[in-house]
Amino acid sequence: MIALEGVRVTYRRTVALHGIDLLLLPGVTGLFGPNGSGKSTLLRVLAGLLRPGGGTVTWDGVPLNISDEAFRSRVGYAGHGSGLYDRLSVRENLRLFGALHGVGDARVEEMLELVGLQDRGGWPAGELSAGLRRRAAVARALLHEPQLLLLDEPYANLDDDGAGKVSDAIKAWRTPDRTGLVATHGAKRVKGYADAAIILQHGRIVSYRVRTPAEAPT
């Protein structure tokens, strides 16, 4: 369970997050809100990539700390950028990050197939379309089967087929003890599998709704 208490982030004079209090339960939570509402900032705080100016973030009662290697091995994050090296092929990128996370090549092939990139694995990442790069980025984030998955606009630039593949990959990753937060503008995309939904506006949570057992996704 991840708990945020009074998390505040400011960029110079702009307040991105206004003292966020949040209890993130296991399951997949959709994170919605207009541009500039603080979705990406919240994801970066949870990934440990951004230190909040105030407040605390704990994971199972332990303060979140990116310096802790154990924490890093349990987090999967895909931000706005793909996090891939343009000059390396998609397969080389995934094998690199797989090796750094202690994951073998078989899992790389499994992920390529899951996101529908098995035929494009030899392509340089820099030559992929924006949509295919998003799929590769999601594959990279899911590669080591993290306990906490943070995806920032995973459906950006994706057609229906690509979006379906990303959703399938997220569903395949999901287990009862794992926590995922998926920031997106496309509520329809995550509706099929999200267990909860958060709406952010101007750096504040204006709605946090958890699905009842009767509404639970299949």
Binding site: S67, E69, A70, R91
Partner: protein, 244 residues
Amino acid sequence: MSAVSAPGGRGWAGKTLLLARKDLVIEVRGRDTLPPMLVFSLAVTLLLAFTLPDTSRPSTRIVLPAGTASVADVLAGFIWVTVLFAGLVGFARSFEVERHEGAIDALLLVPLDRSGLYLAKAMTNLAFIVAVELFLFPVFAVLFPIGLGAGVVAIVLLVDVGFVAIGTLFAALAAQTRSRELMLPVLAFPVLVPVFISAVELTSDLFLGRPTRAVVSAGWFGILLAFDLIYVVVGALTFEFVIE
């Protein structure tokens, strides 16, 4: 087998080598860093070839506004200034590959001690600077009457260690600023002064034909070793705070 996942070890050393290898593979495919460094070095060297007197021996003394100096001092100064600037051209680019597409975020989240990230980048920068020197020193030896013995090679490698250690650290710091190409020299120059003064003093002595043993026993060698050690330790320990 993938070009970047070959090393078998997956401990700290294996992952560090994997990252260094990744940078080298990217450079071989993209040629973004080394060619500008080499072109810069060649341009400066050719300019100097027309500046210094013809066929002057290293022991020849030339008149400068502040007095006289041996050609060996001037050559040593020129060669290290060229290495310094060529190195900074390359170092400034070394974190570009990580910034592009946000690869640095993915890298910061891998379970590898930050010293591994630092060492991998330092090893790549060392490879680049050694490549520049492998080109630069022979060209200097052709254009100017200097000898390149084992002593020069040893001093050059020791200078490289200190240069790369601090250059990589400040390149990581400068990469987080908007005017990174400008920031790197501003940050690194003052700190690199002891290493490059030692380099000039030691190599000019070697160019003059002094025995390596005598040069090594001079104070400058100790200073160079001490700063190398300090810079490597400081670089490895502080990289975590710089990169995060």
